[in-house]
Symmetry: D2
Subunit: 363 residues, 4 copies
């Protein structure tokens, strides 16, 4: 484990925030699949910073360079490798982080785990910047899933206490998500942006919840127990920095429901088996049941805030105050929306590739 994910797919993410480059290799992809580079660039642009008033002004320009695995616009069977060169190279700004860990960041844990040899600049390998290569991999998987009729979309369900309209669990409104600020209810989106602006002006930050839906899945994707869709998705989504909760369908709400309310009864509609509700989030026994797969991820407020915080000197083993410098997002939730889509796309595509042939269909 570590920075490697997948069952049939083998995704490996590399890079440090201020190193030479960040990137990914994705092994195990069938040959002959087309990759639409313009669509991929537009997808990556949704994650890129510096493009509006609710994110950091730092420019990234995440233009990926493909090193292998593609030929004439299609996968060729070789592992796909792509990288993004870092333009903001390493400076001396971060040296003090070896001694004085930022609360809420991985500074202390990395310092102990790597005995001080970790790259602290910009958070090193723990930086949210590492989600860019995740989006390269996920953006491609998303395209390949769409060829199979499987769509993935996410929206901001909540920021700083302001809630968007939830997805209809049986017919998630993927086409109604705003193209710039990804919410269903524009008014809620305006309140969210206000909350972000307020946090910015306070030198503080806010967290939120992202809701993601996958439609068009057949029945039968996922495996029992530890290979279930919930575990597969949770493992990759928890690989996204700042995620602290993942729930499926009714999620933590099941604690308030009775079985007679929570069970999704079956019916026949247009010759297809459907459920009347979707508290299961499209998953029963770890396996997709043909209904939309729906999950939510909780994203904590950016730990980089400008107000003074209590920290310590590791070397002197004494307490000291800390004020963080630099430019930071007061809220990463909007930019994390395509990242969650990317993570879901990778998990779902991997689960589909890993599906065993069965006796009747096989061979």
């Amino acid at each position: 484990m570590s920075s490697t994910y997948g069952d049939t797919l083998k995704l490996s993410i590399f890079g440090q925030s201020h190193g030479t480059a960040i990137g990914m290799t994705l092994d195990g992809v069938p040959a002959g699949l087309p990759v639409d580079m313009d669509r991929l660039r537009r997808f990556l642009a949704r994650r890129a910073p510096g493009q509006n008033d609710w994110s950091t002004p730092r420019k990234e320009g995440d233009e990926p360079e493909f090193l292998s695995g593609l030929l004439d616009g299609r996968t060729c069977g070789a592992p796909i490798a792509a990288m993004i060169r870092n333009k903001n190279t390493r400076s001396g700004d971060y040296e003090q982080l070896h001694d004085c860990p930022r609360p809420g960041h991985a500074d202390l844990t990395a310092q102990v785990k790597y005995d001080g040899y970790q790259d602290v600049a910009g958070g090193g390998h723990f930086s949210g910047r590492l989600t860019a290569p995740l989006c390269i991999a996920g953006g491609m998987c998303k395209q390949w899933l769409e060829e199979m009729g499987i769509r993935i979309g996410a929206h901001i369900a909540q920021i700083a206490g302001v809630r968007d309209v939830p997805f209809d669990p049986l017919k998630p409104q993927l086409d109604k998500v705003g193209p710039v600020f990804p919410v269903l209810d524009g008014a809620a989106g305006a309140w969210m942006r206000d909350a972000i602006a307020q946090a910015r002006s306070d030198g503080d930050s806010v967290g939120g919840i992202i809701e993601c839906a996958v439609t068009g899945l057949p029945i039968g994707v996922g495996e029992p127990m530890f290979g279930g869709m919930e575990g597969r998705i949770a493992q990759i989504v928890y690989g996204v920095p700042a995620v602290k909760g993942v729930e499926f369908g009714a999620g933590f709400g099941v604690a308030e429901l009775r079985g007679s309310q929570n069970n999704d009864g079956y019916a026949i509609r247009d010759g297809e088996v459907v459920t009347l509700t979707n508290n299961a989030g499209g998953i029963l026994g770890g396996i997709t049941n043909g209904q939309p797969l729906i999950f939510r991820a909780a994203v904590k407020p950016t730990p980089s805030i400008y107000t003074q915080q209590q920290s310590i000197s590791i070397h002197r083993m004494e307490e000291m105050p800390l004020k963080i410098q630099g430019r930071h997002d007061p809220c990463i939730v909007p930019r994390a929306v395509p990242v969650i889509e990317a993570a879901a796309a990778i998990a779902v595509y991997d689960a589909i590739l890993s599906r065993l042939p069965n006796y009747r269909r096989a061979y």
Copy 2:
């Protein structure tokens, strides 16, 4: 993937509810570790049904037989294998489930995935009974962790809307959890049992939330990205049937917090680095920070209820009502408490074994 879990440890769970036996193999355990069989039996008894008024009267008597891996009460380096023979063997009761899937169960998904070849009796491989071998593996890991000063405990945080006192995130009260009904607040426990009894008399069921804490962890366990503690724990906890949500520390509550509230400031206490709060649930960047690791799992109401439900005939492709027979728990949350502890123990012990030596300590 599938019914196999682990990085250094390789846990494999086998069995069907009404097959010959259920069991597990656990490979990758160091040699020489003692196993206290009496403690293991007592741990398994916490999961066993039929012992009180809030669970099913079906008796299991989950006495494990060890087939390999132990010698004179200690691990010998060979894979550990253990099984529990099924006493309630297969009868014809379940045949209709091939045709009429129970809402909330894996009947439909298994029927499609396995083309009708799955063992439907008692839920087959999807049965909650498969958590017994998980508890064999986890019960041993729990003992080995305790030898290292690492303790794991869980309690019922909520059932049917009734809430227990939460763990103190900095000093979880592991010793205050009730030995029979695992809550911190006995009065809340009594209300919970009332809610369960009410659901039983209504032929219905209730869900809940389990909170689990791991204390005594050093700084530095877990890996970046997909090898983080959140993902490792979520993957195995989602392997427990009925779990629909997993959150760490402040969890979904982060959506309501600002960074200045959510960040856990550092301080020095008795020569040790501590945090002043524990919203991170003891994990930063996927890596333990030396504070208690705390997570919660949402457990859905048992899908087996006695009220009539809407289902379908798969073969005739038409709707039909379903009434479930047999004996079933109106609430599995109390019995799931040791299962969540077991899952956490396996994930944590695996992460510790997988920790890389570093340059200074190594070799």
Copy 3:
């Protein structure tokens, strides 16, 4: 890794020679596959000792008990688990092996690796007896491959310098292998048995070479680089105790050939692409080329011999002579033939299940 093998299949082998039981779990098998128990028993009988004059008189009676994964004679999607109870239980005979390691056995390496906690009786987990569960898994894979038109057969290519006729690399004579003593040339077999009898009467042992062929494979099984058929097969075949060499096609003979001799030219026969020779052993770039897959495994002489050997006392750190007691095969090569077939069947079946769908065929 360790006692676990496979990519899509997850095979886990457990047990010690004189422990309670030996066995295996096999996860990842499609549902609905039939298992012919009589054929499986006959296959296991080929490995069983005590049935003739060239092997040990110790009786095993390797009757497997299936614990899960089968229903009405077919796989049901749950992991398959089976075990064989040990009848020769542990006695005090072996205690001295903690101190005085047998040359050629794993006694010393296990003693150091497991700090003396390993089960030394009968070699513990290192015993050749652990190949019985490998044969359970492999015997089933062999049946499932045959349903797909893929056959696996092996013969003794050499014992103690006596050579059998080799397989025709383009048309291996699987049906000509002797049913009792697995050679193509009965006269060579008689000489081999003489050599074994001579070694037995000398209190010594002899080694040999097993040649294995897989026919009926389509083009395209196996992956590039570390997923190639050679590496997949070698990894599992080296899991069989006593194997010290594995070669494919012309094998070590390639060192004497020129490219013009070693390259297998292509031709068309009956509308199919064939090769004119088969020095590649049916594998190019790690991927099957449609010709018979052929490999050979070198099996060392049984290390248990009755002549006095030079050993040491680990505790006293001084040299001492050793004479081994007990009943032991003077040659395990004949009994290893089905084991090599089993190993090949598992590797080939796993590679087939792991084959990616491609763009045109897929979905």
Copy 4:
């Protein structure tokens, strides 16, 4: 599986011969390990072509660029990624290979497996050029092993029937291997070069055998069964194109030995346990026994030869002759020597990192 290797280490190799770049990511390396870039460059130079009269005149100049994982000359805990840009970019030379497969190459198998979407230029992902990134990973592992007192060296044991002096199995003469042409016996090396020159002038090629030794290993590295050192090494060595055989210690020679000859008796020398011979190649039960680990790999003659060969047109399904153009090594064995060392270094270092702590030493 596929182009990914390792247990604790996760090595992923990417690239096509004439694509943008070739490279590797290596995850799971402890932080703080130094990398001597000059030594690494010298190691890579041993594999590079175009530097003498017995290899292809094509120049590569394999200068690796490190993209992540290093900081100030040491590993920083992040995955290590490095790439080599391809200078010989894709031209139209290879298009006919979609139709007319070269005997002995992966052209046919790739064509079928990837449905014609593979990159045929220069062999694509199947090119021997992909061993350059393997050498980057292996060259670093070699350095880290040397810090632990573990050395790896290889020599040409045979080319075209000419044999070098073998390694002394108990004291392999690593320091006596020629620095330019890697043999122990300079006269044999001269004969080998003659044989290569002769093959070149004949438009043909020759194969050979490489012998590799690892010294300084402690007792106890490797796991039982499928995690044994033989299987670990074989899996990665078979990932090197053209390898068709791997044997350990006495290897295939065991078929001619009796147990009394093959068993390595124990003795005490200078307070250490040693063996009197080393037919086991330093491995018993899959686990190192403290003696030199010795193996040999058979390397087939380069399939690219200039004499006319029999091939087919896949599209027309008819036979046709083929004459290969371009510049090719008449013998890749000398350049494969560092590749085999690199493969061994990766396998050994991974096995060391994967070694479990045991009860006494642990934690």
